[in-house]
């Protein structure tokens, strides 16, 4: 496993840091003294991997939140570069402003299939972060996303949306320019696009701002991504006027990919490299690419006309419906009885 040096270590990653440091020391020693320490190093690497596997299989929901928000997690642009290397980007909502918090580009995946990738962009460094508002889009971002989706429709290019946002931007101008209208319009219009849509939550799926580009024929989540109706901090401050209770609230919100898969609200979980996507961008992006290719393969079989729209609509008629909940509750009860 190719492991990166971590500048942002999460608290629960500390045990791993020691092993990593030991590996680094041995590597240095091996080089300086020109001796073969590969056996010891390999051993430590295995140890590291096991430790990471151990830690990341037992993350609490709040720890998952921290992984999903990890600053070194792959960002939209990392995915785009790997997914569609010959990409062309398109800017602007044709109305008011180009919002850098939403970015979209068209290009070929695997050299032969054209797709449009649209997502939230959090930025790769502090300057970027600020420019992109940490991935919190304004209405013009959502309107640009819709314009690009319609462009994809004209090009007959399937759409992949990559979700990674704390939420829509809570700003004065955002309210003035119709944050509500922009998100609502996307939710409505995404049902009308005659090309297949896949939505993947790659990091943070923050409420309406995430869903605003998230209506898809299929919905997937990365292994350590989260998707929530409200941020744990926001929820805590409403319930107890105390944002510091966020970690406690995260447990209640059941916002991990695993929770949501269990609820049957998503179609698939995309595996991450051992220790999380932030430890190995290449493996993470490849994993996403593989899932997209599989999905494209399935989508070939549907004819891209009213049928596609009907299927999408039917999906959402069932999804999170009263019957859906009822059936889940029945399943839960019967499995409890069987214990």
């Amino acid at each position: 496993m190719e492991s990166k040096k971590m500048s942002n270590l999460l608290s629960f990653e500390k045990p791993v840091a020691q092993i990593q440091r030991r590996i680094e020391d041995l590597e240095k020693e091996s080089q300086e003294k020109n001796i073969d320490l590969s056996v010891s190093i390999e051993q430590l690497r295995t140890e590291l991997k096991l430790e990471l596997q151990q830690i990341f299989s037992q993350l609490s929901r709040w720890e998952k939140v921290m992984v999903a928000r990890h600053p070194e997690r792959p960002k939209l642009i990392d995915y785009i570069k790997v997914l569609i290397p010959d990409y062309l980007y398109f800017c602007g909502d044709r109305l008011f402003r180009d919002d850098p918090a939403i970015f979209g580009a068209m290009g070929h995946i695997n050299d032969n299939q054209l797709i449009m990738v649209i997502g939230h962009y959090k930025g790769k460094n502090t300057r970027d972060n600020i420019q992109c508002n940490f991935g919190m889009a304004n209405p013009e971002g959502y309107r640009k996303a819709l314009r690009l989706m319609r462009l994809a429709e004209k090009f007959r290019a399937p759409i992949v949306t990559l979700i990674d946002t704390p939420g829509a931007y809570p700003g004065i101008e955002a309210e003035e320019h119709g944050q509500s209208e922009a998100i609502a319009m996307n939710l409505r219009e995404m049902f009308q696009l005659k090309v297949p849509i896949l939505s993947i939550v790659t990091g943070e799926g923050g409420s309406g701002g995430a869903l605003g580009i998230g209506v898809g024929d299929k919905i997937m989540m990365m292994e350590h991504a989260i998707y929530s109706v409200i941020s744990p901090e926001g929820c805590a401050s409403i319930l107890w006027r105390d944002a510091s209770k966020a970690s406690e609230v995260a447990e209640k919100l059941k916002l991990t990919a695993q929770d949501i898969m269990k609820f049957k609200l998503i179609d698939e979980i995309i595996n991450e490299p051992v220790g999380g996507a932030h430890r190995n961008h290449r493996e993470a992006t490849d994993s996403v690419k593989k899932c997209i290719l599989q999905w494209l393969n399935q989508s070939e079989k549907i004819s891209w006309n009213q049928d596609l729209l009907d299927q999408r609509y039917e999906k959402y008629i069932r999804l999170a419906s009263f019957d859906h909940v009822k059936n889940l509750m029945k399943d839960i009860r019967s499995s409890e009885e069987n214990l």
């Binding site: 309210e175 944050q179 939710l187 929530s228």
Partner: protein, 292 residues
């Protein structure tokens, strides 16, 4: 879901022991602090005659105000919320629902059905802020989807009155997805040339405002109603800017082009009826066009 400190529900004045019975008949206006006789308040559409403060109506009161007497046929009453997340804060979600039902004498934050408004038959949904802040969970979403589907099938105009803090966090992702479900249903309805009137009352925010509330072909708001996506406190904390005067009020939204008009409660029924009559006429007066 946003929390609202200022609750403008009529507050019964706490009286001295002997005056109790009498005092129940009086309400103190939070706008101008005048003592108002409940009977007069009720005759005046729950609007303070002194300062025009609009007291909040519950869904039953709205239905009484808007629909022709005896015309409301409730639909989809059978749906009741489930605690799929097993959510507990200061109390369990199950307990919270139970209390809300008791307090509002209703089983969810929206009443749906059909009614007539000055003779025009419509599909109607009216939210009730008193039921867990009018929050939208699975049942609210389900009822709106079903109501909209019914309106599409029966070719009825659709009216939804919103009063909500947003999605119901106690139902997690199930709540959030109601935004997409309702928006999808309304899109289908509108594609079939259905007319959707969205009526925004105090407050309409969060996941409700960012889904069906802002998809109206015509969007009408009550004066001074608070309408927006994000909570004012969150905006202040995030931007560290002072909010402009009248921020997120209905008046602010008209100025910013987000809604069609503000209508006083007293003439609400009349205005809606006129829109409905305009719409039905357009459809009936031209045989040629009807069939398209």
């Amino acid at each position: 879901m946003i929390s609202f400190k200022k609750n403008n529900t009529p507050k019964i004045v706490k009286p001295g022991p002997n005056l109790e019975a009498e005092a129940r008949d009086w309400t103190k206006c939070p706008g101008c602090r005048a003592l108002l006789y409940n009977k007069h308040l009720s005759e005046n559409y729950q609007i303070c005659p002194k300062c025009n403060h609009h007291f909040r109506l519950n869904s039953r009161e709205w239905l009484r105000l808007l629909s022709d007497e005896g015309s409301f046929c409730p639909l989809f009453e059978e749906f009741e919320a489930e605690d799929i997340l097993e959510f507990t804060d200061n109390e369990t979600y199950v307990e919270r629902i139970k209390k809300a039902c008791k307090k509002t004498n209703a089983n969810e934050a929206i009443q749906t059905g059909t009614c007539t408004i000055e003779g025009h038959k419509i599909a109607i949904g009216v939210m009730n802020f008193h039921f867990i802040g009018g929050s939208m969970g699975v049942v609210v979403g389900e009822k709106i989807v079903r109501l909209t589907t019914l309106a599409t099938e029966q070719k009825l105009p659709l009216l939804i009155l919103s009063a909500s803090g947003g999605a119901r966090m106690q139902e997690g992702m199930f709540s959030l997805l109601q935004m997409a479900r309702t928006a999808g249903a309304i899109g289908r309805f509108q594609k079939e040339n259905g007319l959707y009137l969205s009526l925004l009352t105090h407050p309409t925010t969060g996941g409700v405002s960012a889904s069906y509330a802002f998809l109206g072909d015509v969007i009408i708001a009550e004066p001074q109603a608070l309408i927006g996506f994000a909570g004012a406190r969150v905006i202040e904390q995030t931007t560290r800017q002072k909010l402009p005067p009248r921020f997120q009020t209905a008046e602010f939204l008209v100025e910013h082009g987000q809604i069609d008009k503000i209508v006083e409660r007293k003439v609400m029924k009349k205005v809606i009826a006129r829109i409905l009559s305009f719409y039905q006429e357009g459809w009936s007066s031209h045989g040629v066009k009807k069939n398209e």
